[in-house]
Symmetry: C2
Subunit: 355 residues, 2 copies
Amino acid sequence: MSRIGMTSEPAKQTYAGAGVDTAAADRLISRIASVAATARRPEVLSDVGPFAGLFRLGTYDDPVLVASTDSVGTKVKLASVLDRYESVGHDLVNHCVNDILTSGAEPLFFLDYIGNFGLSDDQKVDLVRGVAEACRAVNCALIGGETADMPGTYAEGDYDLVGFIVGICERGNVIDGSRIEEGDALIALPSNGLHTNGYSLVRRIFGAGLSAPGQPADPEVERAVLEAHYPELGGTLGDALLLPHRCYLETLKPVLSDIRGFAHITGGGLPGNVPRIFPDGLVARIDRSKWEVPALFKLIQERGNVADEEMFGTFNMGVGAVLAVAPGDVTGFCEKLAEAFPIGEVVAGDGFAWA
Amino acid sequence: MSRIGMTSEPAKQTYAGAGVDTAAADRLISRIASVAATARRPEVLSDVGPFAGLFRLGTYDDPVLVASTDSVGTKVKLASVLDRYESVGHDLVNHCVNDILTSGAEPLFFLDYIGNFGLSDDQKVDLVRGVAEACRAVNCALIGGETADMPGTYAEGDYDLVGFIVGICERGNVIDGSRIEEGDALIALPSNGLHTNGYSLVRRIFGAGLSAPGQPADPEVERAVLEAHYPELGGTLGDALLLPHRCYLETLKPVLSDIRGFAHITGGGLPGNVPRIFPDGLVARIDRSKWEVPALFKLIQERGNVADEEMFGTFNMGVGAVLAVAPGDVTGFCEKLAEAFPIGEVVAGDGFAWA
C-alpha cells in the first residue's frame, strides 16, 4: 500500500521524464491521506502509512473474517461523461458491504485501488473522497489504497476503481444458506436503480459512455443523452443511472439473525444470483407479479427492445437483495422492515424457477 | 466476489450480444475456482463462493490485522510480449507479502482482481494459477477474486492485475519503527532483479512492451528485444526483467523479533522508501560502496544513459529490503542470514543521506 503512481509517458531517460513527478506524487499522497483519514476507527493503528494498513481486532469468541473484492465495472464510463467522480466511490463501497453482508458480516476496513491514465489529482481525490464518505457511513475504516498511472494500459481519461473489504462475524452467526428449508419464504428488498450491473448494455442502448481505447466518443453528444429529462424518471437519465448502489447494512442489522440465506442481486439478475445461496435440492420460486418493475428498467427495455428474459437475466429489475426466512418469521420481519416484501418461496428442485 | 465478467462489445441488444456469454463465464469461474482451491488453509470456510470469502481466525492474544493492496504495474506489459501470464501472479503475491511483512505480519489470505479486455480464458486461468502457486508457497489462502472484462477501458490484450492481502501479527510484535534508535545498524537483503518497479523507464529504454491504447506496437520486434541474450545477465533480457519479485517471508521469519524497522524497496528506490520507516529526528545514512550493483541495473543505466541519482531513485539497485537492527544484534543477525549485509546506520537528522 504505497500510493505511488507509475507512468510511462514522454521523452528523456529519467523517471520524471517518463512521467513520474515525485514531488507531485507526494502532494497527491498527502491529499489522499487526509481524505482517507476521515474514515477511521479507533482500531486503526496507522492509516495510509508506509507499506500496509494495521487494524487491531478486539475481542471475539470465534471470529470469522469475511472478505470480498469488486470493481464498479463500466458504470464509471457513464460517470466520466458527466464528470462525476465521488459517486462511484459510494457504489464501490456499498456493493462490497452488501457482498460481505450476505454472510452476516459487518465491515471492519476497506482498501481501494485506482488504475488509470490521465485522471487529474482532483479527480483521484474525488474518487477517494467518495470511497471515504461511503466507508464513514457504515463505520468502516479506509486503511489503505494504491493509485497506479498506466498510460500503456488505460486510454486517456479512463480508469478502473477496485475495492477490497474485510468484515467480521461470529462463527455461530454466519449466514451460509445451510439453514434454508423447503417452504421458507423469500423476501425482497428494493434496489434504487441498476446498482452496478448491466451498464455495458445500457451504455450501448442509449449511446453514452462508449469511448474505447483508440475510439474516442463525442463528449457533447453523450452528455446530452445523459442530461435528457424523462418524466417517468422524475429527472435526468444520467441521475437515474448514476444513483449510487444502495447499502443494506443499516436496514438489515436488526434482523440479521432471522436471515437463513442472502442473495445480493448483482450481474446475472435474480436467476443468476438467487440460486447461488441454496443447498442442493432446494430452489427458489419467484413470482414476478409480486412487485412493480421500476420505470428505469421499463425505459431501458423499451428503448433497447430487449426481451423480458434478457432484462431479468441482466438487471436487478427493482430487487436488490433476496432473503430466505422461516415462514413463521415473515410477518415480524416485514413489520420491522417496511420496504421488504415477499416475492416467492423455497421449493424442492434445482436451478431457478419463475412462479 | 463473484468472478462475473462484464463486457460491452457488439451488436444486438442482448447482454450476450453485448459480449457476455453466461455459460462460458460459468465454465471460466469453475476453472478458476479449482485453481484457486489449490491455495487453501483449514481456516477457509468457503473458497470462491457466492459473494464473499470466509476465513475463521483462530486464537490470538491481541491480534492486529495487516492489509495491503497493490498491482504489478507495467511489468505486465513486458510479460504480455513474451506471452507469460503465470509469473506476474508470483510478482503480485510476493510484493504484497513483503508489504505486510514490513509490519511483522504473516499472511492469512489473498484476493485478486483482473481487469482486462480480450484475455483468453487460458490466460486468465494462468494469471490466477500464478497467484495460487505463490499463495501456496507462503501458506496464504486464496479466498476470492474478480474478473472484469471491460473493452471500453482496456486496450485489446491489456489487463491490470491487482492483489489484496490480509495478514496477522500479535500487537506486541508489530514492527512500526518506534524502537529504532540512533546508532542502529541498517542491514540489506538483496533483490533478485527489478521486482515490480521501474518498468515504465525500462520499457522505454529497451523499446519493449510499449503498445498503448490506439498505438499498437510490433510484437515481433518487441519479442526480439526481450529474447536477446546478454552475457553479463547469463541469459536473455526478458528472463532477467521478468524474474518474479522475491518474497522475504521465509528468510526473515526466524529473525522478525530482532527487526526494529523494515523498508520494502519499491517505487522510489532506497531514498524513496527507507526514510518512510523512521521516527522524527532519525535518518538513514547508507553507504553505496557496501554492495555491488547487479549487472542488470548497469545494463539499464548504460543503455539509457541514466544518471546515478536517477537510477538510485527509481530502481532498487540490488537491495530489496532494508532492516534496522540494534548494533548488538548485527553479528547474530548476519550469521543467521548468510545473504544479509550491513549498508549503513541510523543517525540524527531528517530525510535521507548517502554516506
